[in-house]
Each structure stands twice: as C-alpha cells, then as structure tokens.
C-alpha cells in the first residue's frame, strides 16, 4: 500500500450546494504540498471534509491515509489514525487548560487503562513551547481563550508537535501572523518535516512558502485542482495572479 494522503475524485457539498467537484491529489509521506487558490475555491472546505465536519456531505470519491479509508471513520478516529488539522480559526474551550486539553488528546491515544507519565509529558511540552517561543503561562490558560491571532496559531502548531500526526493540513496558518510569528511557526513545521510525515499547506500567499518550502504546489479553483507545479509556481501566482491558469483549458 502506498504511504500517502490520497484524495481521489472527491465531491462534497454543503446544504445541497456542491463545493468540491472531483478533487484529486496525493501527498506522499516525506513531502510538503501547498494548495493555493482564490477565495471561494474550496480550500477550507477541503480541510473540513477530510477532518469529517458534519456540515459537509461527501457524495463521491475517497480519502485514504496510507491504507485507511478516512471517510469510514469518525472525526476523532481520523485524528487518532494520524490526521491533524491546524485550524484557520481555532476554537476556544473555556475553563479547560491548554495542558489538560493536550494531555487528554494524548491520553485518548493510549490503550485503555494506561496512564500518561505526567512528568515526561510536561517536560516534552515545555521543550516544544520553548521551540515555539511560547511562555509557560500558556499551559495553565484556557485553550485559545483570550489568545491573540498569532498565539492561537502557535498553539495549533504546539498541539501538532505534541500529537505527532502522520499527515497534517495547515489551513491558512499564516493568516493573522506578523513576520516574526510566521518565522517561528514555520520553524516548528520545518522541525517536524520528516520522511515519515506529509504536509498539505493551504495558503493564500506565497509568503508562507518562503519559510515552509513546498515540494509541490497545486492550484485549486472551483472545487478542483486545475494546475500542479513545483515551488516556483507559487512565485508565478504571486506575480501574475490566478487568471492565466483559470483561463487555460483544463487538461483532460
């Protein structure tokens, strides 16, 4: 079985309105792919459909994580199978400390009856927070509550580092970040790049791809991948916009 996140002919709709219209794309382990596309092309829908959000109905197609059909699994099972989504708008969980939340997520991955080693857990989390330049006080604060945009995004990366997924989608992780925060977040992601892990980075701007350099860039338009190229494609898009691709005939 191939070691990849494989999306094949994916059709998905919300309220009877089709948004993904036969999307096909494969992220092999060890690679970073980027998806770029104009507003409304279906970028955020893609990440939610793969995560299993109940507002979206998959009408056709498949999503495989290695040899596991993700569409057969519940939201939490997909996560435990090794899929992580860094949210564009991370939610707040009032009263639940960041440390407890991450710990509960780690605990959910252990066999029943097995307990997390609390000391090792904190040691590991502190080390990763240091890498991300996060103050220790974020362990005790409620998840994302009162966090600035940049703090929320760092917190997403912290969770990703702690959960060590096989495949991760970063959904517009660069939005709302200043350049320094962007560099730190990118550093975190780069530190996690490995032959054992694949990334799909959704972004509007080429800027992020200066720091997380992709192997492949896809262009998403109207629910389909209409163009695929190397990392230089991102610069081309930045310079020329999307129209030149959108207007070219779709390859059969």
């Amino acid at each position: 079985m191939s070691q990849s996140l494989r999306i094949e002919n994916l059709h998905a709709s919300v309220d009877g309105h089709e948004i993904l219209k036969g999307l096909t794309l494969e992220v092999p382990k060890g690679q970073v792919h980027a998806i770029m596309g104009p507003n409304g092309s279906g970028k955020s829908t893609l990440s939610k459909v793969i995560a299993g959000h109940e507002d979206y109905t998959v009408t056709q197609g498949s999503v495989f994580l290695d040899d596991i059909n993700l569409l057969d699994l519940e939201i939490d099972e997909r996560s435990r199978a090794g899929f992580f989504l860094a949210f564009q708008y991370p939610h707040e969980i009032p009263g639940v400390s960041n440390a407890n939340f991450i710990r509960a997520a780690r605990q959910a991955r252990l066999p029943k009856g097995e307990e997390i080693d609390a000391i090792a857990f904190y040691r590991e989390m502190y080390a990763k927070m240091d890498e991300l330049g996060m103050d220790r006080k974020f362990t005790a604060r409620s998840v994302n509550e009162g966090f600035s945009g940049g703090e929320k995004k760092r917190n997403e990366i912290l969770q990703m580092m702690m959960l060590e997924p096989k495949y991760a989608i970063l959904d517009e992780t660069d939005s709302g970040l200043d350049i320094d925060a962007l560099k730190i977040v990118a550093q975190g992601v780069n530190a996690m790049r490995s032959p054992e892990r694949g990334f799909l980075v959704i972004t509007h701007y080429q800027r992020l791809l200066d720091y997380i350099v992709p192997d492949v860039v896809h262009v998403l338009h109207d629910g389909r991948i209409i163009h695929t190229g190397g990392k230089e494609l991102a610069y081309e898009l930045e310079e020329k916009g999307y129209d030149w691709i959108i207007n070219e005939p779709v390859a059969a």
Binding site: V96, A108, E115
Partner: protein, 471 residues
Amino acid sequence: MPDSATLEAVTIDQDEGNFSYPEDYAHDAGYGLDEGTVDYISNIKGEAEWIREFRQKALKVFFAKPMPTHWASKDLENIIFKDIRYYLSKGQAPTRSWDEVPDDVKKTFERLGIPEKERKYLAGVEAQFDSEAAYSNVKEELTKEGVIFVNSTEGLREHPEIFRKWFGKVIPTGDNKFSALNSAVFSGGSFIYVPPGVKVKHPLQAYFRINAENFGQFERTLIIVDEGAEVTYMEGCTAPKFETATLHSAVVELVAMKDAKIQYITVQNWSNNVFNLVTKRGLAHENAEIRWIDCNIGSRLTMKYPGVIMKGRKARGEVISIALANDGQHQDTGAKMIHAADETTSNIVAKSISVGTGRSTYRGQVHIPKHLKGCKNNTECDALLINSSSRTDTYPAITVRGNQHATQHEASVSQVSEDQIFYMKQRGLSEGEAMSLSVNGFVNDLVREFPMEYSVELKRLIDMEMEGSVG
C-alpha cells in the same frame, strides 16, 4: 494530582452505586403515613415525650399544607405518600467497628469505598443505611476535645442540653410541606457539636444510602459550632436504580456562633427515581461564616435552596452550587440569603448544566431590609445547555431596601457549540470525552472550592454522566 490509589479510593460512580441487597428489616413501619406510623418510630427510638409531641404536631402541619405546585414542578403530585415506607431498620445500634456492621450493610459501604476514605482523610464517619446509622466513628482526639458527632436519636437523648435549644429553630416545622414531613418521621442524620475554639482539621463525613424500594429517607442534621470553632462536614448520597419512586427529604440546620466557621459540602449522586426535597439553612451569628458547597447530580427531581440567615454583624453566607440535569431530570436549586444585621456579606455562585431533556432551574432569594447598613451581596448564575432540547430557567429575587448596600447580579446562558466539539474531536477526543471536558471546564472554577478528594470524585461523576449521555 492525586495518585491512582487515591483516585480509586475516592471514586464513586452511579454504576458502582447501582446494586442492592435483599431486604431483611427488624423494624418496618409499613406503607403509608398516619399517627400510628409516627408513634411506631418514636417507640422504637424510645424517645422523650417532647419529641413525640413535636413529631405529632409536625404530622398535622404536613397534612394541612398543600403541595407547593403553584410555583414548583407539578411532578411533585406524582409522589404517592401512601405507597412509601417511612421507617426501615435492622434494629441495631450503630457500631464503632466495621467488623460489627451487618454483613450486607458492610459490603454496601465497602463497595462505595467508605472505610478507605475514613482511613485516608476523614476525622469521623457516619454511614446511614435506610433509616438508621449502621456505623459511626469519630477520631478519639476529637472526642477528647469535646466534639460530639452522633445520629439524631442519640443526640436528642444523650445531649438534650446542647441540641434541644436549636432543634427545629433554624428551620421551623412549618417552613414548608417537606420540612413538616421530615419533622414528623425524621430518623438518622448527624448531630454535631464543636466546643468553643476547637478547629476540626479534617472533615467529618456522613454517607446516606437508600437500599430499599418504595422507601423514604428522612435524615435530620443539626450542627452547632460554638464561638471561634470551625468544622467542615461532607455528605454523600446514593441509591440503586429502582423501578419505582423513592423519596429523600432531609432537614439540615446549622448554627454558627460568634466567629465560628462551618463549611457544609454535599455531593449527591442519586439514581434517577429519587425525589430529593431537602431544606437546608444556617444561622450565622456575629462575624461567623457559613458556606454551603452543593453539588447535585442525578435524582428525578431535586428541590433544594440552601440558605444563610446572617443574624450577627459582619456575618458571612455563601452558596456555591453545581447542578447537572441529565435526560429526564429536573434540578431545581438555588440559594436564600437573609441579611439581618449590618455589614453582612453574602455570595452566591450557581452553575447548572442541562443535558438532553434535562432541565435546570435556579431560584435565588436575597433579602436586605431597609434599616440595615453596609450589606453586600454578589450573585452569579451561569447555565450551560448541551442540547437544543435542554432547558434552563432563572428566577432571581433580590430585594434590597435602603441605599447603603451593594449588590451585584450576573447571569449567563451558554451552549457547548458544535464547532467547539468538532475542534476537540479533531484532536482525537471522543464525543463523550469532549463533552466531559467542556462541562468540567465550565464548572472548573467552582470545583476548586471542593476539597481535593471531592473535586476528583466530582470530575469523575461528571465524566460518567457525560459519557452516558451521548451516542
């Protein structure tokens, strides 16, 4: 964090509570309630005449008072008083040694983890099985200091000079229909006296267990803490899941003398056939403090509004309340704060969670009369709804007269959003785990008020409830 042994020792969940032993009672007052029932109870206990008269008078008040269904739930009409048994006991005096406790009773409390708790962190324990205490023990050093911790029968018989003065004074018989019922048929409960200046370091605990079906448990508790003394009392309650309704109707009176402190903690985990109708009130003298920390999980209908009458200058009253109404349950809870002296302060923080068709109601009464000066009240009530079919109502009644007082009232209703649950599930938590964590987060600031052992237990109880409430 407590180690796993502590966790194990303090865990009580509803399924652990869901068992009962066959009935073999030496004393059974039979079904229904009349003067004969009351005499039967009084005779068995060998009570003084004044107590018998107190009971008989209360019975008349009970019959005369209508059900409070003009403001309370109509579900009260489903209590069939003639189908209830009002007194059941094995006819044994409470023992100080576990070995002498009847076998099935001992097994019951051992399954509920009581002896371990006593060893670990309690200064005294009383374990009530249906109508009477089966076990009662208090650490010797406390007895030497003059602390009394006995059941109601013994308290009134052995120490009338201490208890009679306050018995039925904080909550008069006619306060409400159920306080009258309790006054007629009360049995068991804790009578506690702490002498001046004695600060009881570890909590005293009572454990109330209903074992028999169609039964009513009517414990009576009176705690008197003398000048400058302090005590923390905790009670836990469980019952098995029977097919028919069971009634629990307690009366709890607290008296805090000058500079005294009482903290009264309840964690109830009734099965969902229990009508839980309890009257709790404390009287705080000058500079005294009474705190009710009340956690209501389970039951079919709970009606409970712990109160504090602040009778002396600078007295303080506090109610911290958590209620969780699961499918088919109604938690009607709140607080009463009666300011009766200058510079008295009260604080109410109530949080309720409604799950599925569960319903929670907050009723609060704060009374500050015109002639007083410098009184303060703070009331916060927050409700969390888990499903769109859940319901919550808030009825705050704050009467403040005069202009030399400060009151503050805040209320909120929130819902666990689907997107929040989605986010948590994306991190690998099941729906039940996500719900538990959200609910625990909602009550987190209040849970911290509980002693550590109880906050762990509370968290487990909430987990159990939430796990069971989703797919």
